[in-house]
Each structure stands twice: as C-alpha cells, then as structure tokens.
C-alpha cells in the first residue's frame, strides 16, 4: 500500500526547505527580535526578510504584512478589526459559503446589532455581482469574500468585487487562504484592502498566518499588549514559524507555474478518469473558475464517510462534505448553499492536490476508487438508475 495524499486543502506537507530554514531559530538564533542587543538584532533581520518574502508573493509592501497565529486569526483580525476601527456605523457583507473563520465573526457582529448580509450563491457556487451592488447600496460596508472556496475550489470574481467595493467607499477583505501559492495574486493590481493567508496551506507548518493590510486601512488589533507588528498584533514574534512562512512563500513564487499547469492537468485527468469510470458522478462547483488543485465530486447514492474509509484502507487521503465526517448531521454548508440535492450532497468527496503529487498518484486513485464506488453501491438500498 502506498500513501497518496490528496487532502492539501486541509493541510500540506511542510516543504523540507522550509523545515531546514526554521531549524536555526530553535537552537542558535533564539533571541527576542525586539531586544537591543545582538541576540535580538540578528533575529530581527530574519523576521524582516520573511516579511519581504510574504509581501513579494502577493505584490505587497513588506510594511503591509502582519504576522498572525493562523488563518483564522487573520480573518478575525480583518473583519472584527475593520468593523471596530470604523468611525461610523457600517454594514457587513459576506457570502454563505465562507469558511467558518469568516462566518462566525460576522455572526457575532450580527448579534451585536451590526447589519450583516450573506450573499447567496448559485448552483455552481458563484455569487452574483448584482447582489453585491445592491448590498453595497445600503451604506458603507466591510465586505469579506473568499478568493477561493476551500471545499469546491470555486473562485469568486475578487477583482470585479474589489472595484465595486472601492467605488462604494467600502473595505474589502478577502480570505485568500486557499488561493495563495496556488494562483498568482497581486494586490497592487487587485485593490483589496485586507487579505488573509495561512502557512500550513502552502507547505509551511501549522501555527503561522499573515494578514495583508493595505497602507491606510484602519484595523483595530485583537491582541493588545505589545508594540510588535506595528501595534497591530501584540505578542512576541513566533520567529521560527515566521521564517518558515517566508521561505514557503519564496518557494511558492517559484512553483506557481507548476501549480497552474502540471497540477491542474493532474486534477483534470483525475476528474475525467472518475467521470468516465463511475456512473452517476457529478462535479460540484464552477469548473471554469476553479483552483487548479481542487476537485469536488459527488458519487450519488452512497455516503462520503464510507468512501473515505475505503480510500484510507488503500492509503489514499481525501475529505468529504458529508454529514457523517464532520461530526454534525448535515452536509457541508457550502454544498447545501449551492443547492446540491441530498442524493449527491452526502456522497461528495474533495480531492486537493499539491506540487508533490505525481501522475502515478492519480493512476493509483483511478485504479482503486471505481471498485469502492461499485462495492458501496451494491450495499446501498437506493438503486442507481
């Protein structure tokens, strides 16, 4: 049995180069970057190099990058921080398919009396820009729309949304946690004000994230108690992980072409192969505007957790939007918001690739998955027409 890891939207393997770059900061270079002596000073330089590396990947200025503890913190800091920093009352606009790290802060603000509008998506997981226009017409808003959906890989039209929000005098945050490192992103061309990214989705370790804050955008900090990160995020810097994130961003800039070509081709081959060999299978989400690494596919009449356990027995790692896997009783909110019928919602499987995947990984899945689907359908009381 060979391990085939196709769950990279959940987390990625830390790149060996990243781990190597981090090592000295656990042993020799352990100083506090704020200290006025050599121990600190030599470490400070590496933190600033990392900041420049992160900034370079997304076309930002280093001073516009704030390091955080994770993507969830970046999302919280962006949304809560922007709303709290606003002088006048603001609305919040988001979508129904955002990650909980966005939806939950928005719902908390709603409980505090701030009007929150959740934009609907269509059957392909797309928002309608006219809905956004209408929502923006109700007053100044902090808008949070994801660049790419973690479950389906569907891309929102962030460039168009950014122009609309800018014209309306609002603030646009984008949760780009799934997009950074997989797609070219340039904030000097796309006028977003705030952008979240997370280390462990791009081959850095867990426990490090960053928020891009466009110069002039006001954000009230969540963590008070230190001057670090220009006062926007108190707490002594997590130096080894910051260095790791910097190195990961540097690597991602070099491998971006591979993600958008070779990885996309592997994903397309997986999709075509599964559709050709498995009856009653359907791809979830807009295939035209989609991350290059993600395939969300439903196998009707069977349930996702069963598929995952059989795949795991073959060494294949994927994930599912089925109710049973989440510990809740209902299928994923993303799949439901798209109106995917129950017949398919419970059998949705997400394959998410990375640059470490090979053609033989895909062959292995194409060889092993169809018999699993067949076996489970033989057990199912619902007959495939």
């Amino acid at each position: 049995m060979r391990p085939v890891y196709l769950d990279n939207n959940a987390t990625t393997q830390p790149a060996p180069e990243v781990v190597e770059a981090m090592q000295p900061f656990f042993t020799e270079l352990w100083g506090n970057p704020s200290s006025m002596h050599k121990f600190g000073g030599q470490v400070r330089r590496h933190v600033e190099t990392a900041r420049a590396q992160v900034a370079a990947l997304i076309g930002a200025e280093p001073s516009e990058i704030v390091f955080t503890g994770c993507g969830t913190e970046s999302d919280n800091l962006a949304i809560r921080g922007a709303v709290e920093a606003a002088n006048n009352p603001v609305n919040v606009i988001t979508s129904r398919v955002e990650h909980p790290a966005v939806l939950e802060p928005c719902r908390m603000l709603k409980e505090r009396g701030i009007p929150v509008i959740e934009l609907e998506v269509d059957g392909q997981g797309r928002i309608n820009l006219d809905d956004l226009r209408l929502a923006l017409s109700r007053g100044r808003a902090v808008v949070s729309l994801m660049w790419a959906n973690n479950e389906t890989g569907v891309l929102f039209p962030i460039a168009e949304a950014a122009e609309l929000v800018k014209a309306a005098g609002g603030i646009l945050h984008t949760d780009a946690i799934q997009a950074v490192g997989k797609l070219p992103i340039n904030v000097s061309k796309v006028p977003v004000d705030l952008l979240s990214l997370s280390g462990h989705k791009l081959h850095a370790p867990k426990g490090i994230g960053a928020l891009y804050i466009r110069r002039g955008t006001r954000v009230r900090p969540l963590l008070l108690g230190g001057h670090q990160e220009s006062g926007k995020r108190g707490g002594t810097e997590n130096v080894p992980y910051i260095v790791g994130l910097g190195r990961a961003c540097e690597l991602a800039a070099k491998t971006l072409a591979d993600e958008t070509t070779r990885v996309a081709q592997l994903r397309d081959r997986l999709q075509a192969g599964l559709l050709a060999t498995c009856a009653s299978a359907r791809v979830n989400g807009d295939q035209e505007h989609r991350l290059p690494n993600t395939l969300n596919i439903s196998f009707e009449y069977i349930e996702g957790e069963s598929i995952l356990y059989h795949l795991s027995d073959c060494g294949i790692a994927a994930s599912s939007g089925s109710a049973c896997t989440s510990g809740s009783l209902e299928p994923s909110h993303v799949i439901r918001a798209m109106g995917v019928p129950f017949i398919a919602a419970h059998g949705s499987i997400r394959f998410s690739l990375s640059r470490y995947n090979t053609a033989s990984d895909i062959d292995y899945v194409l060889e092993n998955l169809p018999p699993i689907i067949k076996k489970l359908r033989a057990i199912s009381p619902f007959a495939v027409p």
Partner: protein
C-alpha cells in the same frame, strides 16, 4: 478519523448478509437519502418460526454499515419474539461500542428490525409509519421515538438525544422541546424526591438569620461565578427585598436569576412562602 473498534471496521470492510431476500416474510425500511442514512432489512423464517435468513442494504457511513451487518448476524436463528428484544445498545455492544455521535446508527438498525417484524405481523406497508407528533422536522423524528431512546439509554442531555436519533441536530429549533421531553421522563423515573419536610416555625429574627445564611452560602457563590453579587436590603413578612450587584445588575436574565435562583434557594432553605423582590433602582 473516528475511534472505531476493530469489529466495527471488520463489519464495515466485510459486511455480512448484504442484499435483499426475494419474497421475504418481513421487510423493514427506515431512513432516507435526505437524512444521510437509510437501511432496508429483509428476512425469511423457517418452519419453526426462526429467522432462517436475513439480508440488509445500507446507505450510510462506516458505522451504519457495520451496525446493519452486526444486526443481521445477531438475529439469525432467533424467533421474532427474541429478535424483537434486541436493543440499539445490544447492537453497539456487539460491535465493542460505537462513538457517542454514531449511536444513531445502532438505533437505525433496531428501528429497521421493528418495522420488518411489524410488517410480518400486519402484512401492511413496509415503510415506517411515523407515529405521534413529529418533534424534529429536519430529520422527521417523532416524540415517541425520542421518548424511547431517552428511556432505553437513560439519556440526560439534548446532545445525547441528537447522537442517538438525530433529533435536534438540524436547525436546532426543536431543542427546547426535546429538553422538556427529557425533563418529563427524568421526573417519572424512580428517584422520587423525598417528601418535603414540614416547615418549622421561625421567629422573625431566626428567619432573617436563616435568609442571611442562605444568601451567604447558597446564593452568593453561584452569582459570583458570573461576576455578579447580591445585597440583602430588607425582610417584610414573607417578602425578601434584595438588590442585584456587579454583572447581575445589568444582566438581561436578572429576572430569571431572581426567581429561579434566589427565590428558589430561599424557599428551599428557609420557608416555602417567601417572595423575592428587587429593590427599585
């Protein structure tokens, strides 16, 4: 991943008795596509009235498939009377236990068996008939079903009820109703409260001292947990006048606190006719 036992994984990987029996003596179908799991059970009896053969088809997760498979193994060779006594806990035990959140898989097995046995006796529809009032509309769970899982598994919380029969796990609107059902069943269980002691006659001084003591020992510590506090202002006949302080002072549920905590405790420890009032602010 879930903490499945080896036996669960074995029955999931190698399910026993898969399929449908042609011209069965009993058919039981429960669950639905919308709910995320469904089970069809068919059986055939031998001349002695024992289950000679039983087969299942399941749409669901690993533990749903394992529970169905286990059930078929458990009831083979049993009379319908014997099989009818199998509980969801028996199915879970047979598998060496199920994760708490997956107990509803064992309940689905037991329900399918019941429907199949009823189908044998009545010959009527093999579809499960919903009896009684539907409490959870998301998953179509009736009051009778909830009452049953609560009784049989001695459940005490809404979360447990959700784990065992899904009720309350969708939109959550029915959770207060489930709480009422749990409270009702717990009330009818044998741990009857001891007969109330006849209230001793207290002098006014004794009564005030006892009220002070109860506030000090029983009430204040509970309020302090939420950064609240209470001050005893006066006692006039059976009226106890207090002021809520700290976080309690501007708490939206202060009225609730006053009646259900302060008054309840004073009535329990001092006299059953006490009425608590808040000093006008």
């Amino acid at each position: 991943m879930w903490e499945y036992t080896d036996k669960v994984l074995d029955h999931f990987r190698n399910p026993r008795n898969v399929g449908t029996i042609p011209n069965p003596d009993g058919v039981g179908e429960v669950g639905s596509m919308a709910c995320g799991d469904a089970l069809k059970l068919t059986f055939k009896l031998d001349k002695q009235g024992r289950i000679a053969d039983v087969k299942f088809q399941t749409f669901g997760c690993a533990s749903a498939i394992a529970s169905s498979s286990a059930l078929t193994e458990m009831i083979k060779g049993l009379t319908l009377e014997q099989a009818g006594k199998v509980t969801n806990q028996d199915i879970a035990n047979y598998l060496g236990g199920l994760p708490e959140q997956k107990m509803h898989c064992s309940v689905m097995g037991r329900e399918a068996l019941e429907v199949a046995i009823a189908n044998y006796h009545t010959g009527k529809t093999s579809k499960k008939i919903l009896e009684g009032k539907v409490v959870c509309h998301c998953f179509g769970v009736t009051e009778d079903e909830i009452v049953r899982v609560v009784r049989e598994n001695r459940l005490t919380t809404v979360q447990q009820v959700t784990n065992y029969c899904k009720a309350g796990g969708g939109c959550g609107k029915c959770q207060p109703e489930i709480e009422v059902i749990i409270a009702r069943i717990r009330a009818e269980q044998p741990s009857a409260p001891p007969a109330p002691k006849p209230a001793p006659h207290l002098t006014t001084l004794q009564k005030i001292r006892l009220i002070e003591e109860t506030v000090e020992k029983e009430i204040r510590p509970a309020l302090k947990k939420d950064d609240g506090d209470i001050e005893l202002i006066d006692v006039v006949d059976n009226r106890v006048i207090v002021a809520l302080r700290g976080m309690c002072a501007n708490c939206q549920v202060a009225q609730f606190t006053l009646k259900d905590v302060v008054e309840a405790k004073l009535r329990e420890f001092v006299a059953p006719d006490l009425v608590v009032e808040e000093v006008p602010s």
